[in-house]
Amino acid sequence: MRAVTYGFGMRSPVWRVGAALAVLVAALAVGGCVEDEPDTTPNPEPTSTPLFESDEEALAAAEEAYGRYQAVEAEILADGGTNSERIEGLAVRDALVAAEEGFADYRANGYRNIGATKFETVELQHYSASSEDSKDVVGLYICLDFSSQDVVNAQSVSVVRPGRIVRQAFEVSFDLAQSGDELVLAAREPWGSNDVCAA
């Protein structure tokens, strides 16, 4: 079992570092500590074919990819984490590692899911204008609803933390799959604001 469940920094996609820097830079600027910034603006690059024609299209593609992932994840969790290779192709990078670790945890502890976690979207967080980089091309906020789900151990005793958040917001991000025509889950992390779940 891992010692660190969550911490100060946790893993952050690169873009969020930019936001963190924004805060830092803003804070320094208020204090008058910022020198004139060197002109590091990159030259404009030629545009490539847009990945998505609209917000709706990006949202729909990501929602569909998450739905595919979660449907299979639910099956594996209901099966106590066995045959977890079923998740391959539906998750990559952090999301794949986290999924496989979780499945291993289920197998090791004899956990299994009863009922299924539901997900409700969703809010588009960002999407990439082009396919220059296939990583983190779409980000969403989603709301996971655990109200009709329970995790039990081999003795059929619930191992869910008492008082857990029933509807919890997560931030999910997607890479472009190698096939290039669909998205695949790359990361899923808790999101600080539960506003997504309020609606």
Binding site: F8, R11, G18, A99, V159, V160, G192
Partner: protein
């Protein structure tokens, strides 16, 4: 005294944060929640972006070894969820008292669900309203007239470009990338394309050849053609990391008013000496 989970956690964290800020690829110091943790309700938010910067400042003022001006002090345990409510309350009270002594701002990290407002609210198109994208030049061929039944070529030269300005009170740049071009041909026809098109010459085509953005007028008359560009936007505060902004910004690029006639009318009815730039001259 409570058992400590990780003795030099704060020092480690601050090192990771500093390294992370310098080299984002080194950020990956903490594994994400596993789905087992998520499903069992053991995965919480950490306050995220705002929390990071707050903690960065705090840990700098304390030094990395866990002993500051106030003497040795208790480190933050790894799992607040493993504390009892009473332990957690004690722990937070201690943190708060210490912060007050040191004159720092303090708020309950991790456990409170409300994140700081500014950094977590995504930058929207409204926030970058002061950044105006350049639409570039647009053109039509033949210039100012069309031959019914033949292709008239329209194009926009809008390209990806960067506009400097200020965002959240800090110097920033916004990169606009054309996502789509809309051609409203004025005769009821329209097209939405990924390309802005180009002149016949630049495309290596002959006059009146079809292009991805050309249009065939079937009736004579005067038409108003509108070209607009939908830009996607990204912003950067450090000149290196670009963050996409959701949505697109639609900007009018050009309006042409032009007459369509049949070939005889437009090609013969004028005198090239009187109008050397006229059709067919």
């Amino acid at each position: 005294m409570r058992r400590l989970k990780m003795v030099s956690l704060v020092g480690t964290i601050s090192a990771l944060l500093i390294v992370g800020l310098i080299a984002p690829s080194a950020w990956a110091g903490f594994p994400p929640c596993t789905n087992s943790e998520i499903e069992r309700g053991e995965c919480f938010t950490s306050g995220r972006i705002g929390g990071d910067s707050v903690e960065l400042g705090a840990s700098e003022s304390r030094g990395g070894g866990g002993s500051g001006p106030q003497g040795p002090r208790r480190e933050r345990p790894t799992l607040i969820s493993q504390m009892t409510d009473q332990e957690r309350a004690e722990y937070f009270a201690e943190e708060k008292a210490l912060a007050e002594q040191e004159g720092r701002d303090w708020r309950e990290p991790f456990w409170t669900s409300a994140p700081p407002a500014a950094p977590t609210a995504p930058i929207t198109l409204a926030d970058i309203a002061s950044f105006r994208p350049a639409v570039g030049t647009a053109g039509m061929e033949p210039n100012g007239w069309m031959v019914t039944g033949l292709d008239t070529n329209f194009f926009s030269a809008a390209t990806t470009h960067v506009v400097d300005g200020e965002l959240l009170g800090a110097p920033a740049a916004v990169r606009f990338t054309p996502r789509s071009f809309t051609f409203d041909y004025g005769d009821g026809g329209s097209a939405r394309t990924a390309t802005g098109g180009g002149s016949w010459a630049s495309l290596g085509l002959a006059e009146f050849d079809p292009t991805p953005t050309s249009h065939v007028y079937t009736t004579s008359g005067t038409f108003t053609i509108d070209i607009s560009v939908a830009f996607g936007a990204e912003y950067t505060l450090d000149g290196q990391n670009w963050t996409a902004i959701a949505g697109t910004l639609s900007v009018p690029a050009a309006r042409f008013t032009a007459s369509a006639g049949d070939a005889t009318t437009v090609l013969v009815a004028r005198d090239c000496r009187a109008d050397p730039r006229g059709p067919g001259c």
